[in-house]
């Protein structure tokens, strides 16, 4: 009897939902959606958001003459980080705080005030620098990473600094204080990451959002679990990469769809801060590179797999920019035929030439199978953009995808040959291991012919 009843129930539900056409479903969905509003009209309580804004604003003083000074004491920095983290569980509050953090510290500031703010913030950032004398081991490595981030932040403060930039300096101060004080690195790093996810644009990038996970798993395992009409190949990865590429591009372009140097500087500033925070977390743990990761235990901190995508973006751009700025000779010394030396110039040229195609890639990539779906003028550009995102699958030396491919080849070569990149590689694998372990995603290391170890992953990448 129970089985019959349950069967009837399921059949009734199925009849209800299958009796409609897709258009009728859409209309039904619209009707259902109309019920989702709150009839009481109560606005969420935003006092936490106001409190976080106040903590940021309290560090800036304006005297009667209009002179502006900035001072972020250790307790101020901690208060800012804590107040920012306090809103993280609420989407509504987080969005409201992010909006306000994008505003200038002083609205309608005079040119003198803007200069004072920029110089003041730069000074505050530089004051955070850690004296590494006497430091060894993990403490030395993390101090170097934090100092590198501090330098990048000091260099990247914009002409009209935002509250978000001030908050980012405060976050770095908490990291520096943690290193100097020798406190639990993981807790300080986690707090910093939580705050940076709200205060920075890079922190909001989610590589895995809208990812076609089923296609990706099928691709990695060699088992086609996707639909038959999903053509296997580079398209499987495009929904992942194109979304992130669009988000990155929006971080570094202005409203006129043009590359913006100031925004690029802020982007790199944010990448540095995020990279240092993750490395601080990871330095707290010892991860065996040769033992299967799923056989290891760490005291989990609640990291999620999205952190890996965020870290990879932050680390790649931080390092590309660093070796680019360290001297144009680096690229040339490794690869004399490298097409570009300056990362910012390359990205600027590339983005300006391909903005529309890159930002529309997620919607347009399926048109690649059929050139008739795209105008003859825009098809080559779309193809190049896809090729570029696909890490240089194009063979045409005149296509920008080819340049990008060579840029990456140069980077890979630098990874192998440049001594300065090897500590970075170690740190990157340490972070990768901790995130995979903490997020319980160690099975990624067993896909294909990998053996479940980080050494196996390195081998796979080297191949």
């Amino acid at each position: 009897m129970k089985k019959i009843l349950f069967g009837l129930l399921v059949v009734a539900l199925l009849l209800c939902v299958t009796a409609c056409s897709e258009d009728q479903y859409a209309k039904l969905g619209e009707l259902m959606g109309k019920m989702s509003g709150n009839v009481y009209g109560i606005k969420p309580n935003m006092q936490d958001v106001d409190a976080a804004n106040e903590k940021v604003e309290d560090t800036v003083k304006t005297d009667k003459s209009g002179k502006v000074t900035v001072e972020i004491k250790s307790e101020d920095a901690k208060a800012i980080v804590d107040s920012v983290i306090a809103v993280q569980d609420s989407t509504t509050k987080t969005e409201a705080l992010q909006e306000s953090l994008n505003e200038p510290i002083i609205k309608d500031a005079t040119p003198e005030q803007k200069t004072a703010l920029r110089d003041g913030l730069k000074e505050q950032a530089e004051d955070c620098r850690i004296d590494t004398s006497g430091y060894t081991g993990a403490r030395l490595e993390i101090a170097k990473a934090v100092n590198q981030a501090i330098d990048a932040v000091a260099d990247g403060i914009s002409a009209d600094p935002t509250k978000g930039e001030l908050a980012t300096v405060a976050v770095l101060k908490t990291l520096a204080d943690a290193v100097v004080g020798g406190v639990e690195y993981a807790d300080a790093g986690l707090a910093a990451v939580s705050a940076l996810k709200i205060t920075t644009d890079v922190g909001k990038i989610d590589v895995f959002a809208n990812a076609d996970i089923s296609a990706l798993i099928g691709k990695l395992t060699g088992k086609d679990i996707a639909r038959d009409d999903d053509d296997p190949g580079i398209k499987d990865y495009l929904p992942i990469m194109s979304k992130s590429a669009t988000e990155v591009i929006k971080c570094i372009t202005n409203s006129e769809k043009k590359f913006d140097e100031a925004k690029y500087a802020r982007f790199i500033l944010e990448c540095n801060a995020i990279k240092a925070s993750y490395e601080m977390i990871a330095r707290s743990y010892d991860i065996s590179f040769t033992e299967r990761l799923d056989k290891q235990t760490i005291n989990g901190k609640g990291l999620v797999i999205e952190e890996l995508g965020r870290y990879v973006i932050a680390a790649v751009f931080t390092e590309l920019d660093r070796i680019s700025k360290a001297g144009e000779a680096i690229w040339k010394s490794i690869d004399p035929t490298a097409p570009v030396n300056n990362l910012m110039t390359f990205i600027g040229t590339y983005v300006d030439a391909n903005y529309d195609n890159l930002t529309d890639l997620a919607d347009n990539y399926d048109k690649l199978d059929d050139p008739t779906k795209v105008s003859s003028e825009s098809y080559p550009a779309l193809q190049s953009a896809v090729a570029a995102l696909a890490f240089g699958i194009g063979d045409d030396p005149t296509a920008i995808g080819y340049d990008f491919s060579r840029l990456l080849d140069s980077f890979k070569k630098a990874l192998k040959d440049s001594g300065s990149l090897q500590p970075t590689a170690i740190a990157a694998f340490q972070v990768t291991g901790v995130i995979l372990l903490d997020s319980e995603y160690t099975s990624l290391l067993s896909l294909g012919d990998m053996d479940g170890t980080l050494a196996g992953l390195l081998k796979k990448i080297s191949e």
């Binding site: 129970k2 859409a26 709150n38 309580n45 010892d286 065996s288 797999i305 999205e306």
Partner: protein, 421 residues
């Protein structure tokens, strides 16, 4: 050079690890594990109606109604299914195309449909589905109920589907309810009741991307993984509901106060897998395969579920053709009182504890219901035949931290064989 890098990595960071010999307790603070079977009428009326609940529903909400209404009621069986996050799916043509294909037997549509569904769940906590099976009997002042409930929770600590984990929960409950009407006159009546639920609860550690990849990639056998390699927490509690109802004007106006889920502290143990949990009741009930991870010792812990203080008012004028009922409940008032002293308290927060509902019954056969739950609307309908009832409800509720963070919709269909008029 490749070897050099690998060697450096090995030397720098290789280390040994100590394995824990106990299965750690897994707790989900974001999920409310308090037991309550699905009450379709209550849901349709904006989760209100404490003072006008049906006899059988009263066991789980307001046991004083058990005495207030008296009489006989029986549930030979009731079955209900609730599905959450329907609206986003129905609005998505691609998802519905996959759904239709799936119904027609195209198994390849399952993965994209499931992926789309998981994407819609978003960050934080959510629900996927809830299934209930119950029987019950009420004779005079005494009531008995047996319920089995399976819930599929979703919890995402990240932002994408990759961090989504599914947490199945199973409840088996035996309820005994007692209700007495102390005073019964045309002007005033007074009833009180108590119900005790013996609940055994088990929930899995979240099944997330790691396990799914292992299973999909063929590295692990799904059955073995779920039975022997996915930790399960299991334990029991004896939660108690207490209620008082005052009836005025020939019981057309009723006022109730209830305290629900008192003593809702579960004594829990962790198990390395569901198979080990079953075997803890009856050794050897399920044969342990040889190639599964070794069983770890259980960890004892307590799972606290919150108690609530609620008030309800119902007005049900005696109009036999349409049988109107209007209800208003003030829910979780203890939390409201506690928030009075906080700086963040606002007068408008009072509304967040107010649920409203209404029901019209045509000739006591067709019921139409609507309600407002913390400001979110719900609707429902029922067909009440003498020995069978079919109820459906659809409504929204807030799953986020703040109002508007994460409204989630739910569709419930419930079929009951029995008598409860």
């Amino acid at each position: 050079m490749k070897k050099t890098i690998i060697t450096i990595l090995m030397v720098l960071v290789a280390c040994t690890f100590v394995f824990a010999d106990k299965e750690p307790a897994v707790e989900y603070k974001d999920i409310n594990f308090a037991f309550q079977p699905t009450l379709s009428r209550y849901d349709a009326m904006g989760q209100s109606g404490l003072a006008s609940t049906t006899r059988m529903d009263s066991f789980y909400t307001n046991p004083s109604i058990n005495g207030f209404k008296g009489g006989f009621a029986i549930r030979v069986v009731d079955v209900s299914a609730t599905f959450y996050n329907i609206q986003k799916l129905v609005s998505d043509k691609e998802a519905m195309a996959n759904f239709n294909a799936l119904i027609k037997g195209d198994s390849q549509a399952a993965v994209p449909f499931a992926t789309k569904y998981l994407e819609n769940l978003g960050s934080g906590r959510n629900m996927i589905a809830k299934f209930d099976l119950g029987v019950g009997l009420k004779i005079g002042i005494l009531g008995f109920g047996t319920n089995v409930q399976v819930k599929l929770h979703a919890l995402n600590k990240g932002t994408s589907v990759a961090s989504q984990s599914i947490i199945p929960e199973v409840n088996v409950a035996q309820t005994v309810a007692l209700g007495l009407k102390f005073l019964d006159s045309d002007v005033l009546s007074l009833s009180a009741g108590v119900s005790v639920h013996g609940v055994y609860k088990a929930y899995f550690k979240g099944i997330g991307g790691n396990k799914i990849i292992s299973m999909v990639s063929g590295e692990s056998d799904p059955q073995k993984t779920l039975l022997w390699d996915t930790p399960v927490m299991g334990g029991y509690a004896l939660p108690v509901d207490v209620g008082v109802t005052i009836g005025l004007v020939k019981d057309q106006l009723t006022i109730s106060a209830t305290v629900n889920n008192l003593n809702g502290k579960y004594k829990m143990k962790s198990y390395s897998g569901a198979g080990y949990l079953v075997n803890s009741f009856s050794e050897g009930a399920i044969k342990v395969p040889e190639d599964v991870p070794e069983k770890k010792d259980s960890t004892d812990f307590e799972l606290e579920t919150p108690w609530t203080l609620n008030f309800g008012v119902a007005f049900a004028p005696d109009i036999s053709v349409i049988q109107p009922v209007v209800t208003a409940d003030l829910i979780d008032m203890y939390q409201l009182v506690k928030s009075f002293n906080k700086d963040t308290f606002r007068a408008s927060d009072l509304l967040l504890h107010l649920n409203l509902g209404a029901e019209l019954g045509l000739l006591n056969i067709v019921k139409v219901r609507a309600g407002v739950n913390r400001g979110f609307m719900s609707v429902g309908a029922g067909i009440w035949l003498p020995f069978a009832q079919i109820d459906a409800s659809y409504g929204w509720q807030e799953f986020g931290v703040e109002l508007g963070d994460k409204p989630v919709d739910a569709l419930t269909v419930k079929v009951t064989l029995g008598y409860d008029k």
